[in-house]
């Protein structure tokens, strides 16, 4: 991956070649009302089983492929079964906290969605996502803030690597030079060490870091308690989303936030209505619901987009788990989402309809979904260019 910072190190000629003029300023209208649009990307790391998350109970091949792990179809009075969405698809019962958002049409699903990658590799699949959020952050027509792109976690995810100067942090509280009396002197000293001089990854990151530290201090974001009675699960995802909400409410200029939740690589003992995957989904659903409740009216400016590397095999494997597959389901929650609908063409689970005879086929290239979100929600003019070598696809209409 070649970043602008890497090029800067390489020399001025290289820089001239990539320093594109700000073509997107014409569409700065989105920022005119002073409230920024925010995209929150939640990555389900390890490849979530879309067929258990959003259950195609109306597909007659579903239950047969999964003797031990199929989710019971919706039935009146059966609270432990899938929650019906549209007569064909249902929500995993552990996602019950999301039902109100479906009913109020703030939640949409895109099914049979996935990467054009063929390898079923966790790591290769992410190549197609490399840097797109970073590129999106750079092209959003809004004034720059050090908190424009933020990842919650102690490493910067690949989707945010690049030259957008994305910030990563594990905790707002700890985001400073801390310690005893010497902290103030040290902070100043460190800041000057990274202030000038060489244009490389380290110095660039250092400069952005101290800008962000100052801004965060004055905004006092970490003091904001969850609003509207929201209760986040005490998990890593809950903590991350709670802090993303703090950044949004503190108006530090956040546009793109990223967080991830792991534990989705369920090769063994995946479980059905209860069990391993259900526990992960319970946390996932509760965290998303708390986030939306916490932000209340501010959700009109926010879209949460969930994503994963790929889906899992249609048939369960020999250990009541699932192996690496192809398409999965992705969720959108927030303002401007035309919710209450499952988007995407359903390819079917009959064996002859499966990709290589084993996986749910991809009918929506996830780049088409990501581009639509970038274009409609973040007002990026040519969102297909966020994905090098891709000429674009047709919009699903999932955002108004």
């Amino acid at each position: 991956m070649l970043t602008r910072r890497a090029l800067l190190k390489g020399g001025a000629c290289a820089l001239a070649a990539v320093a594109a003029p700000p073509r997107f300023l014409a569409r700065a209208a989105a920022a005119a009302d002073g409230r920024r649009k925010v995209l929150v990307a939640v990555f389900q790391r390890g490849a979530v089983d879309g067929l258990s998350m959003i259950v195609p109970h109306g597909d007659r091949d579903y239950a047969a492929a999964r003797a031990a792990i199929a989710i019971r179809p919706p039935r009146a009075g059966d609270a432990g079964a899938a929650v019906d969405l549209d007569g064909f698809f249902g929500l995993h019962p552990a996602l019950a906290p999301l039902v109100p958002f479906w009913q109020s049409r703030a939640l949409a699903v895109v099914h049979a969605c996935g990467s054009p990658d063929k390898t079923r590799s966790h790591f290769d699949a992410q190549d197609y996502m490399d840097g797109w959020l970073a590129r999106a952050a750079m092209t959003v027509p809004a004034p720059r803030s050090p908190f424009r792109a933020v990842a919650l976690g102690s490493t910067l995810p690949r989707v945010l690597r690049g030259d957008a100067g994305a910030i990563s942090l594990a905790s707002l509280d700890r985001f400073d030079v801390r310690g005893t009396a010497e902290a103030a002197v040290a902070r100043k000293g460190f800041e000057s060490l990274y202030e000038q001089g060489v244009h490389d990854l380290l110095h660039g990151t250092g400069r952005e870091t101290f800008e962000a530290v100052r801004m965060l201090k004055s905004a006092n974001a970490s003091r904001l308690a969850p609003a509207n009675g929201a209760e986040y699960p005490r998990s890593r995802l809950g903590e991350s989303l709670r802090q993303i909400a703090q950044l949004i409410r503190a108006d530090v200029g956040l546009e793109i936030a990223f967080t991830d939740a792991d534990g989705w690589d369920t090769h063994v003992g995946q479980g059905a209505e209860q069990g391993q995957l259900a526990n992960r989904l319970r946390d996932f659903g509760a965290a998303l619901a708390a986030f939306a409740q916490d932000l209340g009216d501010r959700m009109t400016d926010v879209v949460v987009l969930t994503m994963s590397e790929f889906g899992r095999t249609v048939a369960e494997n020999g250990n009541r788990g699932t192996d690496h597959g192809h398409a999965t389901a992705m969720l959108l929650l927030g303002g401007g989402v035309r919710g209450g609908t499952v988007y995407g063409r359903w390819p079917g689970l009959a064996r002859e309809r499966l990709y290589e005879g084993r996986d749910l086929a991809v009918t929506t290239d996830f780049r088409a979904l990501f581009a639509e979100v970038a274009g409609r929600h973040l007002a990026i003019a040519k969102p297909a260019t966020l994905f090098p070598g891709w000429s674009g696809g047709s919009a699903l209409g999932v955002l108004s």
Binding site: R120, F123, A186, G206, G321
Partner: protein, 535 residues
């Protein structure tokens, strides 16, 4: 290879580099075994220089030092062994670990239904909880990186552990972890790739982590255990990562059919008495006896355990494996974007020596690319490397207790040892580690270390403070000791300006120096500086 030959290799490298000088004009040709070359070697083949190391290497000769590192068993390592003696789990067998650090009996839960599994795990005193096993392993890694004379071996243990990663927090792995590193990774860290591959393939830690212990022929009925009477079948988790991450690499030319066929070949490779001594066993009844075709090679039916052995052999000898392993080694020792020519030479060594790790390392240290000016300082230290190198640079010594705190510091920077969940292990590229939160964590560590807030770390600042009465001399000494002439103009200017800062120019003398420059505070800035993040 004799010492003389090794010396010749370095000389050859030096001459080659000199002949390439026009392409690396900025700093001119690589000088033969000068201080900078020694610092480079200590930083790449180990966890960075301690005070006096450059002189010590100079005394025995750089080539001889490298050769010594390639034969770690011959190096006296008493200091490290002494510190490690306080960590009893390191020498325990898997059976002993199960006995001494038993898994809480989840059935007790019924007595108190309110109690969460986590609480159950936290009921024994900290030194008796199963997580203690992992904590001691983390501490040991830190202690060894700092105190061990066998620096290259420690680098390779870290490298191979990441290559053959297992995640300590997954199920039974924590009880297997000690043996996995001690009995498979460490003994073969400078051995052959085939031994590492076979060792990991048959170790309970890997069998459990990538689920192969449960993978069976279709419609196998589990005869005992928790799943007694249930049907079991194929699980392709290990088969895929074996090819994608351990051997061929994702572009190594295998297909989904190969994944399934390899998974079939490994059915029956499982764990005997998983909650006791946990030994590898091949169970013929779990094995899929049918014919398989792997990467175009037919394995006739009825091969039994030999199916898996043959797959491992095919993979070890596949040219894609040589290239994949060579690429990762060059990335670790030279630069993030490995030069293809050097990768090819290292891959050729792999092919020519049947995956001899020492031979590949010799190819790397004999390469002009290794010594090239643009390779020096080109790598960003991973958190583990950063923490260890900082303590070493400050002349610090650590006991086992320090190991726990230092491991926690590395975790704050994003590298919790044995804590990488995905089978890739931790990345070895700058972009993964350079980010705002992690950079602040590094600066905070630099402060904690130099202000002596880390229990168990002993720092003797007196050699650094010797010139503290003359601020400029103190700074020069500090930069020489910690950055070895690599301080950039910006860093020097900022630190010079600090010399007049009243916080640094203290009035009261103490053990940080007889007079008025607080060397500890200056050192914090140097350890947190951009230059010290590089190796």
């Amino acid at each position: 290879m004799t010492h003389r030959l090794a010396a010749a290799a370095v000389l050859v490298a030096t001459c080659l580099a000199a002949s390439l000088a026009p392409r690396a004009q900025a700093t001119g040709p690589v000088p033969a075994a000068d201080d900078a070359a020694i610092v480079h070697a200590l930083s790449r083949l180990g966890f960075g220089p301690r005070p006096g190391d450059v002189e010590r290497v100079k005394a025995i000769g750089l080539a001889a030092w490298i050769e010594g590192q390639l034969e770690p068993r011959r190096l006296d390592d008493r200091a490290a062994a002494q510190a490690l003696a306080a960590l009893p789990t390191l020498t325990m067998s898997t059976a002993e670990l199960h006995r001494e650090y038993p898994r809480p009996d989840l059935r007790q839960k019924s007595a108190d239904p309110q109690m969460a599994p986590r609480e159950l795990f936290n009921r024994p005193p900290p030194e008796k909880r199963p997580v203690r096993i992992v904590a001691e392993m983390q501490a040991a890694r830190m202690v060894r990186a700092i105190e061990s004379e066998r620096q290259l071996e420690e680098v390779m243990v870290d490298f191979w552990f990441n290559h053959f990663n297992v995640h300590a927090a997954k199920g039974e792995v924590k009880w297997y972890l000690t043996s996995y590193e001690r009995d498979v990774i460490r003994p073969h860290a400078l051995g052959t790739f085939g031994d590492l591959l076979r060792g990991t393939a048959t170790h309970p830690a890997m069998l459990f982590y990538l689920d192969n212990w449960l993978s069976t022929r279709p419609n196998f009925t589990v005869p005992f255990g928790a799943n007694r009477g249930k049907r079991a079948g194929l699980n392709e988790n290990y088969a895929r990562e074996l090819m994608e991450l351990h051997t061929l690499g994702v572009d190594g030319g295998y297909t989904q059919t190969d994944v399934t066929e390899v998974a079939r070949a490994f059915t029956g490779w499982t764990i005997e008495r998983p909650r006791d001594d946990a030994r590898f066993v091949f169970r013929p009844r779990m094995h899929d006896r049918g014919e398989k075709t792997v990467l175009g090679t037919r394995l006739t039916s009825g091969g039994g355990q030999d199916d898996g052995e043959r797959v491992l052999s095919l993979l070890v000898h596949h040219p894609a494996t040589a290239r994949f392993v060579a690429t990762k080694l060059v990335r670790r020792f030279v630069v993030d974007e490995p030069p293809p020519a050097l990768v090819e030479r290292v891959a050729a060594t792999f092919r020519g020596t049947d995956g001899d790790v020492r031979a590949m390392l010799r190819t790397i240290v004999a390469a002009p690319e290794f010594w090239a000016a643009d390779a020096r300082g080109a790598k960003i230290k991973k958190p583990f490397e950063y923490v260890a190198s900082a303590v070493r640079a400050m002349g610090g010594h650590v006991d086992a207790r320090a190991g726990f705190f230092l491991a926690r510091a590395a975790a704050e920077m994003g590298e919790g040892l044995y804590g990488a969940q995905p089978p890739t292990g931790y990345p070895d590229r700058a972009e993964a580690w350079v980010n705002a939160g992690a950079l602040l964590a590094r600066m905070n560590f630099a402060l904690a270390l130099t202000q002596r807030r880390l229990p168990g770390v002993t720092l003797d600042l007196s050699p650094l403070a010797a010139d503290a009465a003359a601020p400029d001399a103190a700074l020069d000494r500090l930069l020489a000791a910690l950055l070895h002439g690599e301080a950039g103009a910006q860093t020097r200017a900022v630190l010079t300006a600090q010399l007049t800062n009243p916080e640094i120019r203290r009035q009261t003398p103490d053990d940080r120096g007889p007079a008025n420059t607080d060397v500890a505070k200056l050192a914090a800035l140097v350890i947190g500086s951009p230059e010290f993040q590089r190796r």
